[in-house]
Amino acid sequence: MFQNQYETVFILTPVLSEIQMTDAVDSLKKVLTDNGAELVNEEHWGLRKLAYPIQHKSTGYYQLFEFKAATDLVATLEIAYKRDERVLRFLTTKLDKHAIDYADRRKNGKIGKKNQEAPKDATTQKA
């Protein structure tokens, strides 16, 4: 079975309690695992401020999943997102080879604030 690596981020409403929020995350995670996706990484960014209000909310819980799956799973996942009223926004992207490499380094903490910021600051000063 041909598999791609994907990354999905979604925003949950801030009105949920801590338990409801983990419930929502688990139910969406279940959509992935039940359909034969292999979870590679998951990150919970917690309650973050949104750059602009969505559905009159100014904050939201961010959750990221990185998974390997067949191509048709993405459609199933996005239907689950649309049906779920707790989800404010979602984005699923396919990872190409550079993105997978980047994601691996990010997972291992090699893309830290220090490692990445240092050369960039040097370039901005020159420019």
């Binding site: 750059a51 602009y52 550079h98 980047y102 420019a127």
Partner: protein
């Protein structure tokens, strides 16, 4: 009354002003730093490629190569969709 002496040759074309010393050569920072993937999850980095209203800066200002300008613009658009960056802003910087 003596007329001011005219130069022999009057060209209508503006003379080129030499400014080579002042203007640094533009370069693509991604090529230089060897960055291959532009992450949409890092709004602080993408902030370098927008103006203070949140608009994407053109290539002639950022110096990005076409390949990476495309990647940057896609990353910024993804970042906006996830409300990590604003679509419209005032005084972002």
């Amino acid at each position: 009354m003596p007329q001011p002496k005219k130069p022999k040759h009057m060209s209508l074309v503006n003379e080129r002003v030499e400014r080579k010393d002042q203007v640094a050569k533009k370069y693509c920072r991604f090529k230089k730093a060897g960055i291959k993937y532009v992450d949409y999850k890092d709004p602080n980095f993408l902030l370098k490629f927008v103006n203070e209203q949140g608009k994407i800066l053109p290539r002639r200002l950022t110096g990005n190569s076409l390949k990476f300008q495309r990647k940057v613009s896609v990353a910024i658009k993804r970042s906006r969709h996830l409300a990590l960056m604003p679509y419209v802003a005032d005084g972002l910087k």
